[in-house]
Amino acid sequence: MGGNLLDRVQASLGGQALATDMVHGILVLQIAPESLVTLVSHLRQQHGFDLFLDVTAVDWPQRQPRFDVVYHFYSTRDFVRVRVKTRVDEADPTVDTLVPLYGSARYMERECHEMYGIRFRGNDDLRPLLLYEGFVGHPLRKDYPKQKEQPLVPYRNVQP
């Protein structure tokens, strides 16, 4: 049943997906960032992907465009997942927000924003979620120095 549904999803997409693939039983859709909102609302309304699981990003420092923004959706009716990937450039790492479709996207987009610096156009609350005010940079980008610290409390002078 899950397999049939994924076939139907694949068939109904038309030309919106740049590439489709099946990875470990999950349908993976590679799309252009401009078609994100139309495709996701299509998935939600026509195919019942009603649960927004996560949004994260992958940093490919050598590649152009540099970032993959990766979304996962789940259908609580058919118990299947779909993964949507889109690519954005370092110069303008912006995608449209999914908050109008899924309220839970608010928090997850905040986390993705602070960790990778992806901007979500239309999400009006991108304050730090796990990090703190004043943190400079995006720690999960590959070019963030591994041991760079930004302490909030000045360190004591510890004698060895």
Partner: protein
């Protein structure tokens, strides 16, 4: 047989009416058996803290049983687990709220040095922001190590200067 006559009730005998000791020794003895820990528990070491403070290992035997959940009533700060940079101001404030005399135990390797968290988020050892008296390494430390640490701290308390009851007080 003894020739001493029994002491009538309410009257004083000559034996063990007073004893002499050094003041520091006496105050240290009193203090080392009345440690009131404040558990600043942030991570998985908490499981080991529960184990060592409950029946099986029972820190009550060392007078360090009753956790006070306000720093103002405690004199032993046990930092149990990873402290992140975001939490560091809270830890600093908790330490500053404690009254003297106060001691600090870094419980577990994360509180001691950051452990394997060497990254943007974790504070690499709480001694970067507050003074620490005793480090208990381990991930998590065995309860025996914690008890050994508490006893070492008690030895130190017993042997240190306790500058109270002087000309000012």
């Amino acid at each position: 047989m003894s020739t001493t006559t029994p002491v009538p009730r309410g009257e004083k005998s000559a034996a063990f009416e007073y004893l002499t000791t050094r003041k520091d020794e006496f105050v240290g003895w009193a203090r080392k058996f009345s440690l009131f820990p404040y558990p600043f528990v942030t991570a998985c070491c908490a499981m080991e803290f529960m184990s060592v403070s409950s029946t099986l290992y029972d820190t009550d035997r060392f007078g360090a049983a009753l956790p006070r959940f306000t720093p103002r009533q405690s004199d032993l700060l046990m930092v149990v687990g990873t402290v992140s940079h975001k939490q560091a101001p809270i830890l600093r404030k908790v330490y500053e709220q404690m009254c003297e005399p106060k001691w600090v135990i870094a419980f577990g390797v994360c509180a001691t040095s950051g452990g394997f968290y060497q990254n943007y988020a974790a504070l690499p050892g709480i001694d970067k922001i507050i003074p620490v008296d005793l480090y208990i390494p381990g991930c998590p430390p065995r309860p025996e190590m914690v008890i050994d640490g508490i006893m070492k701290l008690q030895d130190r308390i017993a042997n240190q200067r306790h500058p109270i009851i002087n000309q000012d007080f």
